[in-house]
Every structure is written in structure tokens, then in C-alpha cells.
Chain length 223, copies 2
């Protein structure tokens, strides 16, 4: 079996991506980050999703992105907006997907895995620059000069199977593959019990996605 590294946040999208990678026949090595995120409870979801979907291994890497801040997700002094905003929102974490994919690339090289899966989406998304197809293409080019692959002639593939799907299509796809979305969390601003706020960008996209897909939303929201 071929090996793949799968970035797993504990959210809806990456849980779906893990199911897709498994369905394609990969031995999946799930990778999460404890990066100073406000919604750190997502790591418990990531553990449960990795286990439920048969990842061979799940690693959580410590990463001090809180020390550079600059985002509502990594700096507690910046509030998470509970309504739609213009332009790139303050929940954007500078270079986050570049950093996550870079560490995934390092692990893929150690494992001799050829494929790296990431759940970015450029349809029902927050407008983050590092979720766009041109970002994925540029990272794949980089991956193949940054590593032994660049010298020895093998290739890495950066796989973003959700990038052109709507949130409703992602949910329909995942339901078809048996994903248990009750294990996942999307909220950027959960309460101390881990209940979703229902109002941040991530919650609004999730709520609309379940509604559009005609699938009951299993999320526990704050009342």
C-alpha cells in the first residue's frame, strides 16, 4: 500500500479528506498541530477522527505560532468576528498552511510517502490566500525542489480533493464514505465546554453546508 500524510485539523473538511485518502487505498498518517490555536479542543476531535477512520498513526506536533501572533486564532487579544467581514478576515493565520504543509512534507520524506492530502477549499471558504489552487500548485513545485525528491527524481503530490467543492458537496461526499461528522468541530470560538458559537465564519459555513446538503447537523451549539 502507498503511504500518504493527511493534514487533520479535527474539522469537517479534513475528516472528509482522510476518508477520501483511505478510499483511494492509502495507508494514512494523520498530522495535527498544537500551534497555540484558540480552538485547541479541535485536537480531541482530530484524535477521535484519526482513530475512527483507521489512520495508521496520528501525530500532534508542537508549534509556537502563538509567538508570532497576528491572527484572532493565535492572539487572544484579537476577537473572532461573529459576523461576515470584508476582505481577508482576522482569523487568517499568516502562512499557516505553508507551515503545516512544510512539516507534512518533512514527515512524508521520512516515511517515504508520495502524497500529502490537505482539506483546503476555495468555494465555501473565508478567503484565505493559502486555500487557493495557485497556492497548492506553487507548494507542489516547491516540494519537489526542497527535498531529496528534487535531487533523486521521485515526486511528491499535494492533493487537495475538496478545493473546488461546495460545503454541501463535501458533506454529501463524506456521508457517502461513512464519515461521522459528530466527531468533528469547526468553530473558531468555542466556549469552555467546547460548544460551537454558531456565529463565526467557520460555524456559518458549516451550518449552511448541512442545510444545503439536506443532512441533519450533528454539531452541539451554544444555546
Amino acid at each position: 500500500m502507498s503511504k500518504a500524510v493527511v493534514l487533520l485539523s479535527g474539522g469537517l473538511d479534513s475528516a472528509t479528506v482522510l476518508a477520501i485518502a483511505r478510499t483511494e487505498g492509502f495507508d494514512c498518517y494523520a498530522l495535527s498541530f498544537d500551534y497555540g490555536q484558540r480552538h485547541r479542543c479541535e485536537l480531541d476531535s482530530a484524535r477521535q477522527v484519526a482513530s475512527a477512520q483507521g489512520a495508521v498513526e496520528h501525530r500532534i506536533i508542537q508549534l509556537g505560532l502563538g509567538d508570532i501572533g497576528g491572527s484572532a486564532l493565535t492572539d487572544s487579544r484579537i476577537a473572532v468576528p461573529h459576523e461576515s467581514t470584508e476582505g481577508i478576515p482576522v482569523t487568517y493565520v499568516p502562512a499557516r498552511n505553508t507551515v503545516f504543509l512544510s512539516i507534512a512534507l518533512g514527515w512524508a520524506e521520512v516515511l517515504a510517502a508520495s502524497d500529502i492530502f490537505v482539506g483546503v477549499n476555495a468555494v465555501d471558504y473565508s478567503g484565505y490566500p493559502d486555500c487557493r489552487p495557485e497556492f497548492i500548485a506553487a507548494f507542489e513545485t516547491l516540494a519537489n525542489v526542497a527535498t531529496r525528491a528534487g535531487v533523486e527524481g521521485s515526486r511528491f503530490h499535494i492533493r487537495a480533493p475538496l478545493i473546488e467543492l461546495s460545503k454541501a458537496d463535501i458533506i454529501r461526499c463524506g456521508m457517502g464514505l461513512g464519515v461521522d461528522y459528530s466527531l468533528t468541530v469547526s468553530c473558531y470560538d468555542p466556549d469552555p465546554k467546547g460548544l460551537a458559537c454558531g456565529a463565526c465564519d467557520a460555524c456559518r459555513l458549516r451550518v449552511a453546508g448541512f442545510s444545503d446538503a439536506g443532512v441533519p447537523d450533528p454539531t452541539a451549539y451554544q444555546t
Copy 2:
């Protein structure tokens, strides 16, 4: 003054790069990583170099690369070779420069710094794939689609001023700019007192560089 983020390992090359960036007139923000490296004592050198050369700030980011291993520098079970080896050596840390530059990119975005300096060198080096000019070019392309810059039209410049210099030329350049090389360490395999082994790749390149430059080597080697 323009701002620059400067990757600072505590070694000879990055100390020289910091001096070059200062000479070019940048306000320099030095960035180091506590990444599970065997030669963690380099962080003390990085602190001293940042201070001696007037960095505006110096941050050390926690980064669990030891959890993916795959290198003599991050896995204590793999020995550092004390002689020259064929091909890419086991001291290569998979995707390390990609990860370091990615985090530097995130900090540059937070600071509104346009330039990121890195001390890679493709002449007197260990053959690491992520020290080559094509890697730097690919990373610069990525940086400008991965960030707000990609959406808003500003640009990041990845600066590798040493990339085509010999080690002797780097030392001559740094001496001319007042770099105190006695503060720097290059060794991959120092003893518990921090004394350099004199035999690993990094030490051999350093010894030869000082010799070729006709400059006394201030390094404290194990006897």
C-alpha cells in the same frame, strides 16, 4: 527603515547574513528555532549574535521537528558522521529550510517586513537540497501566492546573499562587516561543554574556510 526577518541559527553563515542585512539598512528581526536539534547550544550563540549585531528583536520559536525525526540532528539514535559521506548526508533534516522559511514568512507578514534573509550556501555546503538556488526561487514564488501579498499585490523577497560564495569569501565578508565569529558555533555534534567536535561536516567546512581566508579560527574545539 524597512524591516527584514533574518533566520539566525547561531552559526557562521547566518551571523554574516545578519550583518549584511544591517549594512543594507534593514531593521532586523532575528528568528531562531528550538526544534529538537542535537546542537541546541547554538541557540545561546544566536542570542549573543542577535544582541551584538543590533537586531531589533530576537524570537526563538518552539517547533517539534524531533517528533518526525529522520535526521542525525533530530534523532539521537542516528550518529553524526565524523568523515565525508556520499550523497545527501544523514544530517539533512527533511524540509527544515522550508519549515523555517515558512514561519519566517508568517512573522514577516505580521511585521509588514518585505525581505526575509537566509544564510544558505550552495558552494561549501553539505549537499542539502534546500540550500540550492532553485529552492530559494521556488520559495519566493510560493511566498507571493501564500499570503495577503498574493491577493493585495505587495511582494516578499527571499534573500540568500551567501548562496554563491565560498566559505572563505563569507568569512572575509563578515570580517569586513565586524562580525565576531567567536560568538558563533557551527558544530553538529558538540560535547556537553559545547566544544566543537572538529570532525563533522559543519566543522570541516568551517575549519577549511578560516584556513582558506587566512583568518585565525576563534572556535573552541575538543582536544
